[in-house]
Amino acid sequence: MNIPKNLFYTKDHEWARVEGKAAYIGITDYAQSSLGDITFVGLPKEKEAVKQSEYCATVESVKAASDVYAPFSGTVISLNNELVTHPELVNQSPYEKGYFFVISLGDEVEKKNLMDADTYQRYVEGLNGGSVK
């Protein structure tokens, strides 16, 4: 299970990578592997405002659909349009090529509601009732 150190994590298995005033947003390795082959990603619109912990995108496999909740509040500044034709990027590269969109960060205080990599690792282990590879 890949859990990069420099990211912020949510209990719903989203991640955020803060770069200056912007944040890249996606779903974790754990999320993509539990969903299986991802067939569709429903992205928000550019300039749309998203709110921390609120619905911002949809991710689907053949037999399941999950809502994605925003790790941070902010405004969507760009979308990973590659996912429209290649949703499998979320499976192949959840933290890089498979990111969902970028937002301009609102309030950085929201960081306190998120987990760091170590905490997320323990959280995921707790869900599985044991260690995660």
Partner: protein
């Protein structure tokens, strides 16, 4: 097999119209007309007949295979009802005829069928009246929820929520949501029944209705049903009965007596009309006295001179929910079925459906984990969790059954049972058929231990192997292109 479009040959035809018998009129102006032809295939009649006959042979069906698809009640569909539905007097009747002045007399036969079916269903379920209009089970649910909304509105109350258990059919929350309600989901307790504590916690006077299936989707009759209904009624909420599993209760218990206010029935399940590859069905909705005024228009009424008529002027009615009087052809077959079975035949159907399911349950329970250790009614639910540990999942079991000529049970439903296998044999299957099925199920349980790969490769003897469903969803190809 080639697509019919790939067999097209210009110049062939499968049907000829009589020569023109009227003088040629001026053609319609070009701006109203289509500029190019369709790519519909042109073929001889034999080409078309052979194409679809050969396609039909690629399907499993009740007439060719045991089809224990849980929750769908795939019982045998008596053939004589097809002949009745094809009588010209029924099949050729225009639905607007009785709406013409004096036209009621032109459709007395069909109106009587609707009226009498309504009476039968009311007695079978213990409800005051039925609308025959809903065109399928889910359409009945939507109609039922709208009736509930109309009832509350009439009482001057605007309620926000509909309660469903987590074991419910997906149509229940979907119907409540599209009718404008928010859905509250109550978990199933460790005992297999809806968690009563959670239920109590969420029940308040903002709840419009509680939607339940009984027996529930685990095939279990909930003995607390009356208590659940009483609690709902105490806060002014109504009880909705999803009739998908009514086959288990015929003559034994009636939703009306159990405290339900609104009921839908799937005629294509309980009353023996064919499922038609996914439809048409029919989903009549029954209501208690308090909701009769809200039923959709028109209503079929019997006048004092023993003739039948359509009644439109009902000011509390929710209005039109279907273009006419329901899926009449389906209702007619169900009526013929009820007339034929009669009281004793219907009771016997329920009894033998429950006998067959319990027999399946007892014969398989050493080989598969029962979802809940309980008596079952018309269907039994197992979990393939034990087999899944060796990599044999419910889907693999399904595919192996297909290779052996059995339509699989419902898999992965209800959602609350891991690796669910939901088996509904129905009353029309013989002990020999069920025994043979049980034998294959036991064989699979053995293979799951000894040779799981063998199960996971299935099916090997069908026209196709397992399909790439991910590709289908990622690169949707939803039509043939020239």
């Amino acid at each position: 097999m080639q697509l019919i479009f790939e067999k097209h040959k210009q110049g062939r035809r499968g049907f000829c119209f009589p020569g023109p018998d009227v003088p040629l009129a001026k053609p319609l102006a070009a701006k109203y007309c289509r500029s190019k032809d369709t790519h519909i295939a042109s073929l001889s009649e034999l080409d078309v007949v052979r194409h679809y006959t050969n396609l039909s042979r690629l399907n499993f069906s009740v007439d060719t295979n045991f089809y224990p698809l849980g929750s769908c009640t795939m019982k045998y569909n008596p053939k004589f009802t097809e002949r009745i539905a094809a009588f010209e007097g029924f099949s050729n009747l225009h639905p607007l005829l009785p709406q013409l002045a004096g036209g009621g007399m032109l459709a007395q036969g069909s109106l009587e069928v609707l009226y009498e079916t309504e009476k039968f269903l009311s007695e079978i379920t213990g409800m005051s009246a039925f609308t025959m209009q809903p065109l399928a089970g889910a359409h009945g649910e939507l109609t039922g929820v709208m009736l509930i909304a109309a009832y509350h509105k009439n009482n001057g109350s605007r309620r926000k929520y509909v309660i469903v258990p987590d074991s419910s059919h997906g149509t229940n929350p979907a119907s409540a949501a599209i009718a404008g309600y928010q859905v509250i989901v109550i978990p199933t307790g460790k005992d297999g029944y809806m968690d009563l504590e959670q239920y109590k916690k969420h029940l308040n006077n903002d709840v419009a209705a509680v939607m339940l299936t009984c027996p529930d989707t685990l095939g279990i009759f909930n003995p607390h049903i009356k208590e659940i209904a009483d609690m709902a009624h105490q806060v002014g909420a109504l009880m909705y009965y999803d009739g998908a599993n009514l086959n288990a209760l015929l003559g034994k218990a009636r939703p009306g007596d159990l405290g339900f206010d609104v009921v839908h029935i799937n005629l294509h399940k309980t009353f023996g009309t064919p499922h038609g590859g996914g439809g048409p069905g029919a989903g009549p909705v029954g209501v208690s006295e308090a909701l009769v005024d809200f039923l959709p228009i028109p209503r079929v009424v019997r006048r004092s001179d023993a003739t039948y008529a359509l009644e439109y002027h009902r000011h509390k009615s929710i209005g039109y929910i279907a273009p006419f009087y329901g899926n009449f052809g389906v209702i007619l077959k169900a009526y013929a079925y009820m007339l034929c079975l009669g009281k004793d035949g219907l009771i016997e159907a329920a009894e033998l459906a429950v006998l067959n399911a319990n027999y399946c349950q007892v014969m398989l329970k050493d080989h598969y984990d029962l979802a809940f250790e309980k008596n079952c009614m018309h269907e039994c639910v197992f979990s393939a969790a034990r087999q899944a540990k060796n990599g044999v999942h419910a889907i693999d079991i399904a595919k192996y059954l297909i290779d052996k000529g059995y339509h699989p049970p419902t898999v992965y439903f209800p959602l609350i049972v891991k690796e669910a296998l939901m088996i509904e044999p129905t009353e029309t299957e013989s002990k020999e058929t069920i025994d043979a099925f049980i034998e294959v199920m036991i064989e699979i349980a053995g293979l799951a231990k000894d040779d799981p790969i063998r199960v996971k490769q299935a099916p090997l003897h069908m026209p196709i192997k397992r399909l790439d469903e991910t590709k289908a969803a990622r690169e949707p190809n939803l039509r043939w292109k020239p």
